[in-house]
Subunit: 898 residues, 2 copies
């Protein structure tokens, strides 16, 4: 984004543009003359011209967005469908195994427990080995990536493979895990890979901004093709990944998600699973009178309870992770045996759900009656896979929970029959309420625990199921309480518990993810929108409660994983309008001046950990000229103290000593300072740096530094003490005089002189090296080779916290300089902003209420580890600090250590 623009990127873009223009000129144009020639000569030439134009047209279209989006949608629909198929097969295999062993309960138990354990362990091991980045949901990482942070290895083919296979195994095990979060990640990886693939045809896929846009669309596709919910998918992906959303991306998301959902459902039709395209979990609630106005309080209760439940889920999930990390003995043990934890968790959960055991109380086994399955609703995905004696799969559970009938005994009508998979909810020795309560309680902690397993998995679906069960519980209670409905008129409208289940599912998943678009998702999933107002009310209430208690699940994971984040501004925190940048900014910042010395750079690097250092005109004027990255400063410093330069100085020394012997040959050195920076500095950018350039000559011949002219002896010795760089530096000298240096990694210098018959001057001793370096540090810095961001983001002191937050999230900044008419007065980084929002005392004592105070303990600053090599270099200087006046004279004794 803006503010990170470096000279390098600029020149890169320029080169790229030039290349593209050339390319465009290249591919079609050379053919033109021949075409025209053909046209004038042959008779079928018009056809050929036409064909060529068509071909060209097609190639040009490959680069267009809609082609990309259609391909993305298609691929993701296929992936989603294939994965569903594989998961269903896995589940079927388990059931077949379990069913085949019904003679012996112990064998049954073994089969029941071993199968998921093996699958989960394989999934965990596979992801661990291939790509550990594939672990977990992926939505937190996508949120971070869409903020502009580059996370390595998160969008590669390896991760894609690991995630797809790992997720299939994990879901095939029957654990309470979801595929929705991982699908967002899979779709994003798919988009990244696809754009890399398509860039072979067109050149437009390399642009960073475009990639971000495509990733945003991909997130929508991920949710869309997972639930066949294009609208809900787009909205959900916006809510969980973005702070500010470009409406033009929204478009792309809709297009791709619709296409993807369409193909996903068409595949089901083609596979004869369904007759036509309908919703995934179709419901059949009555349309005329979906609910009574007087039922609304019950829906509100569901919403509020779901809010608390959602917050509890997030809290529980985080506590489990933190407990595992904090308990050192557990942690150490688990680190050694990484696959033990997944296996253990799976073992516990599958033992508890074992149908003949405790599982019978949570919609597990149906004791005796094997009912026909013809009465199953059509919308059910693979209903034939569900024998009567089994635990319900997640999908079957949802279908039963959204069922139209009322399970509890209603008044006189006692003859209610549990049909088909509804059987699972009936228990001979208890009633449906007990089953539901046990189901909810057990599933709750199981899901919270299962989602901490290091396999690719999401928490949306488990939470959705729990919410549906809770809603159903409330609905059944209402139905038992008002057997003939609440309405007092002549018409009797019974209460529909299935509607409550829909409301509960939307509310709880909304509370856990802090989204309202779950409402849209349930409409698309059930194919009915008649409960829109109850759902919206419940979701909003659930969100209001959950947001005031806990961060969303994804934000929680972001903080656990210590990814960079910016907390949201809560509702109604007016204080944000009154706190201003000057209250929160860091005033005492380190800066680089245009006329500073290398020693100053060193000091600045020592004294601060900022990733970007401001470059000011001078310490007096403090006019901000730009910002320079820490790594750039480090590179400047290390290139100034580099062994190459030392070698050259030594070389220079030798030459001046042995000048009489070499007087007949011309000696020239060419070290281009630009080579070290990778890209040549452009003239336009150099202009303002004139003062710096005047002082440090940038001529091709790197004349020996003025300060070190008198210590030529030390310089000579230092010259051969190569330390930092391990690569042989070729082309240092000119053809007249070529030196080839090879440096052994162990530190001892290995010197090979080509075309030089003289005995080798021995390398400098450490003290001399230090002395030489001290001299180097006193030179003025030559910024011409550094990449300077010429327009870092600036704020003014009066900018409100609210506005600052907006700008930071809009532009994805991680720092901004505070200026006052060109003068640098301070700096604000994500850290300060985070502190201010989360409620630390600000500079002026304005206490900001912490919206997420309960969470502050796990907040840690994300400082970046410095490049250790550089660090050591500085440390050495710090400790072996040699006073300038100690040894100004040259010491010729090059072997004796002091």
């Amino acid at each position: 984004m803006y503010g990170r623009y470096t000279q390098d990127l600029g020149t890169f873009a320029k080169d790229e543009a030039a290349r593209l223009r050339l390319q465009e000129g290249d591919t079609p144009r050379p053919r033109r003359p021949s075409e025209l020639l053909e046209y004038t000569q042959g008779r079928c030439a018009p056809c050929r011209v036409c064909a060529l134009q068509c071909q060209r047209f097609l190639i040009s279209k490959v680069g267009e967005d809609w082609v990309f989006l259609i391909l993305l949608g298609l691929v993701m629909a296929l992936v989603s469908w294939a994965m569903d198929f594989a998961i269903a097969t896995c589940l079927q295999a388990q059931k077949w195994m379990y069913g085949g062993l019904d003679t012996n309960v112990l064998l049954q138990y073994m089969a029941w427990v071993t199968y998921p354990t093996v699958l989960i362990t394989f999934s965990a091991g596979f992801t661990q080995i291939l790509a550990p980045q594939a672990v977990g949901s992926g939505i937190p990482e996508m949120k971070t990536i869409l903020r502009g942070v580059v996370l390595k290895e998160y969008l590669t083919l390896k991760t894609f493979v690991a995630k797809v296979i790992g997720l299939t195994c994990a879901l095939g095990s029957g654990m309470p895990l979801g595929k929705e979060g991982p699908f967002v990640h899979i779709a994003s990886m798919c988009a990244a890979l696809l754009s890399r693939f398509l860039s072979l045809f067109g050149g437009f896929y390399e642009n960073e901004a475009r990639n971000i846009e495509m990733l945003a669309a991909a997130c929508a596709v991920g949710v869309g093709c997972c639930f066949a919910a294009p609208i809900g998918g787009v909205l959900f992906s916006i809510e969980v990944t973005s702070t500010f959303f470009a409406v033009r991306n929204y478009w792309r998301g809709f297009f791709a998600a619709t296409f993807s959902a369409f193909i996903f459902r068409v595949l089901a039709v083609w596979n004869k699973d369904e007759e036509t395209i309908t919703a995934l979990f179709k419901t059949r609630f009555r349309l005329d009178f979906p609910f009574d106005l007087q039922e609304l309080p019950a829906f509100a209760v569901i919403g509020i309870a779901s809010g608390f439940g959602g917050a509890l889920f997030v809290y529980l999930n985080r506590k489990i992770v933190q407990f595992m990390r904090r308990q050192k003995t557990i942690n150490r043990f688990l680190m050694k045996k990484r696959l033990l934890f997944p296996a253990l968790v799976t073992l516990i959960i599958s033992t508890l759900t074992f149908p003949p055991g405790f599982g019978q109380f949570m919609a597990g086994q149906v004791p005796a009656i094997g009912v026909a399955h013809q009465s199953l609703p059509q919308g059910l995905h693979k209903p034939q896979l569900t024998p009567a004696h089994q635990q319900l799969t997640q999908k079957d559970t949802l279908v039963t929970l959204f069922d139209n009938q009322t399970w509890a005994k209603q008044g006189i009508s006692d003859e209610f029959e549990y049909l088909g998979i509804l059987e699972a909810w009936r228990h001979p020795r208890s009633n449906v309420f007990v089953t539901l309560v046990v189901f909810i309680l057990m599933k709750f902690w199981m899901s919270a625990l299962a989602t901490t397993i290091p396999v690719p998995c999401g928490a949306f679906m488990p939470v959705f199921v729990i919410g549906a069960a809770f809603g159903r519980l409330v609905g059944e209670s209402m139905a038992a309480w008002f057997p003939d409905g609440i309405h007092t008129d002549s018409n009797i409208y019974r209460i529909v518990p299935g509607g409550y289940a829909v409301v509960g599912a939307a509310a709880l998943s909304g509370a856990v993810t802090h989204t309202v678009s779950t409402a849209v998702i349930v409409f698309e999933l059930t194919g009915q929108i008649s409960h829109i107002l109850p759902v919206m009310i419940a979701v909003i209430l659930a969100n209001a409660v959950a947001q005031s208690l806990q961060p969303s699940l994804y934000d929680s994971i972001i903080r656990i994983k210590k990814l960079p984040y910016l907390p949201e501004l809560g509702w109604g925190h007016h204080e944000k309008y009154n706190v201003r940048v000057e209250d929160i900014m860091v005033r005492d910042i380190r800066y680089v001046t245009l006329n500073c010395k290398y020693r100053d750079l060193q000091q600045v690097l020592h004294s601060t950990k900022m990733k970007n250092l401001p470059l000011v005109e001078s310490a007096e004027s403090m006019i901000l000229l730009g910002s320079i990255e820490r790594t750039q400063v480090g590179a400047l410093l290390s290139s100034q103290l580099s062994p190459q330069r030392r070698l050259l100085a030594l070389r220079q020394k030798v030459l001046s000593e042995d000048g009489h012997r070499l007087s007949d040959s011309t000696i020239r050195f060419q070290i281009s300072t630009e080579t070290s920076s990778g890209t040549p500095a452009r003239p336009a950018l150099r202009k303002p740096l004139k003062p710096a350039l005047k002082r440090v000559p940038s001529s091709p011949a790197d004349s020996p530094p003025a300060g070190s002219a008198d210590h030529s002896g030390i310089a000579l010795k230092n010259l051969f003490c190569a330390n930092a760089s391990t690569e042989p530096t070729e082309g240092v000298g000119n053809p007249d005089f070529s030196i080839r240096l090879g440096v052994r990694r162990t530190g001892g210098p290995l010197l090979t002189l080509v075309g030089m018959p003289y005995p080798l001057p021995c390398p400098m001793a450490p003290p001399q090296i230090l002395e030489w370096e001290e001299q180097q540090l006193d030179q003025l810095v030559d910024f011409s080779s550094a990449k300077i961001d010429p327009a870092p983001f600036q704020l003014v002191e009066h900018t409100s916290l609210h506005k600052t937050h907006t700008i930071f999230s809009l532009l994805g900044l991680d720092h901004a300089f505070v200026t006052s008419i060109g003068r640098l007065v301070g700096m604000v980084s994500l850290k300060e902003l985070r502190k201010a929002i989360e409620g630390s005392l600000t500079g002026k004592g304005v206490k900001v209420r912490p919206p997420l105070a309960s969470f502050r303990d796990s907040t840690a600053s994300t400082t970046e580890a410095d490049t250790t090599a550089l660090r050591q270099l500085w440390d050495r200087h710090q400790h072996h600090h040699m006073p300038r006046e100690a040894g100004p004279g040259g010491d010729d004794d090059d072997d004796t250590p002091r």
Copy 2:
């Protein structure tokens, strides 16, 4: 937004914050000691303390967002419901009139035509007189306002009243107009008024950023309570008003829109219109098999045709407006008789829809059979208002179009009965296809024409109805073509033409408005989501076609009204990634240097029309220090040449002449430059201005500038130049010597000297004034009193067009300076960006394809009229230009004109 931050605003915010802190400290704290006293004394004191705390809590809550949003939702629901009621009454009155006169066709015609004409004319006249801003949809204006542009008088109470009453009358007339667009505007006005009202209780409603957020939520409420469609409302309002959307506003929108839709529907239930809360236009399509996969091509055809139709509608609408404007004779005539145009249009339309006349072919009169109305669907709003002999209202039309039955004769089943209001579509001498085609064609141009009437009206609803009719036409054709459905299996699933109507309505309204959220709106309106995929496909295709042909209706109006806008980046215009700021920026820009003279300011103002001028350090360094508004520069200049200063100079002159008389009293002058700027300049802000301040001393005693030391007479005169402020400047002198100045607005100086017994010196003659002004112009500018934006938005040369567009739309900028390491090198404004996007040749010859080329002729730059008074002042100087050397010396003759 960022970049418009002025020093003034900053200090204002500071004062405001201080005030609030004081206030917070004031209201609750002074009571504390007494409370504690009471607590220790009385026994019921705890209750009182509790009550006080509750009161305080409630007051503190008034300032919170959710209270505001609930109030907004409530008010808007009431407004919407009341307006619907009034409109229904109006329509009923017309029908009653028409029905009562059924003895005479001529009288019937008179009544039929006069009634709407009177209503529309009244509406047009009323809005014209009270608030012309209320005319039209309001969405274009809201889009502009949400971009950060301040449109005057658009959010006032007057406009609110005009819009509500005007809209009620306009819709009550039965013309093909909609209430949706105006409702967005009404909701925004309501929010603005509400926040002004609530600011009486809390102080947090004054913040600009917050107001924008609340307006965004209000737009959602507007759509939400108009259609009882909270989700669609939020999405639609986002799509039509925003380019970048903050997800936190999305929240607010959902909350308020849901509440509003809820109340809106609850009112209907309480009014016994409905039994419970259901959708507005409830449909009853079958759930099991909503559509066949093989019907999808038909849906796609609807989408594509709607795309063309939508583009045609926008084109037609614009052409009508342009025709009216361009035809000078018509225009002149219409300008004189403003109410003639509305009356004429109404007359034509109502004549054509007269049921016994042509109206019978467009669902107008039903010849004979008066069928019972009990069979009407329940969801119908006010069905009892629809007698059989009437033209259908918009709502009734929609209900009939979405009907579940098939109108066309299907195979053998000839005995189909048109029931209730469905009668309207049957004509004895033609079939339903003819009726539908005539209806679509006539309504199409009628709607396009009617929406140009200068009354508050929207085009969404008419377009929606036309789309539904078109969809129905296709559906009926399909039903006639495949009487037993397409499906080849054993089950016969007949085609549901109502589903086609839903698809058509969403597609056409989506095409006209360039939104996809119309899909969500139809789901919420019909209460069924089973057709989600056909609707999404049709809407996306319609959008793709319409967007490539025409701008959206709202953008079209924005351009017609010449509001500032930024075109969207189209799909797949990769060139945007390669065009860069340096290709499009204006290099030859005027600037103000820190050490310039007033004469330079004058020249700059003459030579450019830029609203913001860059302030650079010097012409050599070109380091950008900030930007200064044009009006500020004008103010600086006019204060320097103000009559007050002239008067003071004169006064000085008199004093120096009469110095001998006053030699015994010490004379000191104190003019605080800070007083004139309204707020004291803060020391931190002043520092960077040091160079300027060195030249212009900022000590309390305003000593004469160094440059003009030789004209000490003039400098002394300058001393009394209390500038800019028209208020009497008190405290200018010290107690020794107090002068009170009053300036008559007419220009003639009025001098009041307090405590000074000398006779008034007569004003200068014009030549002397000119001479004096010439002297003034040669002084160095004192920027200390000017408001300088210390951090204007900066781009670098390499920023791509794409990124620039993003930043401009994100931050709502209208210009940005291009810098290169602090140096100003150019400027980009909305105009350049617009040009570059819309396809002018850029500097490097990169031809950008115009996405909206057909529309470019109506694009005009929106230059702002300068303050004429100031302009005249400069013009005078330009023409009467007097050379410096003509009269440097002071002229003592103050009465004689030259």
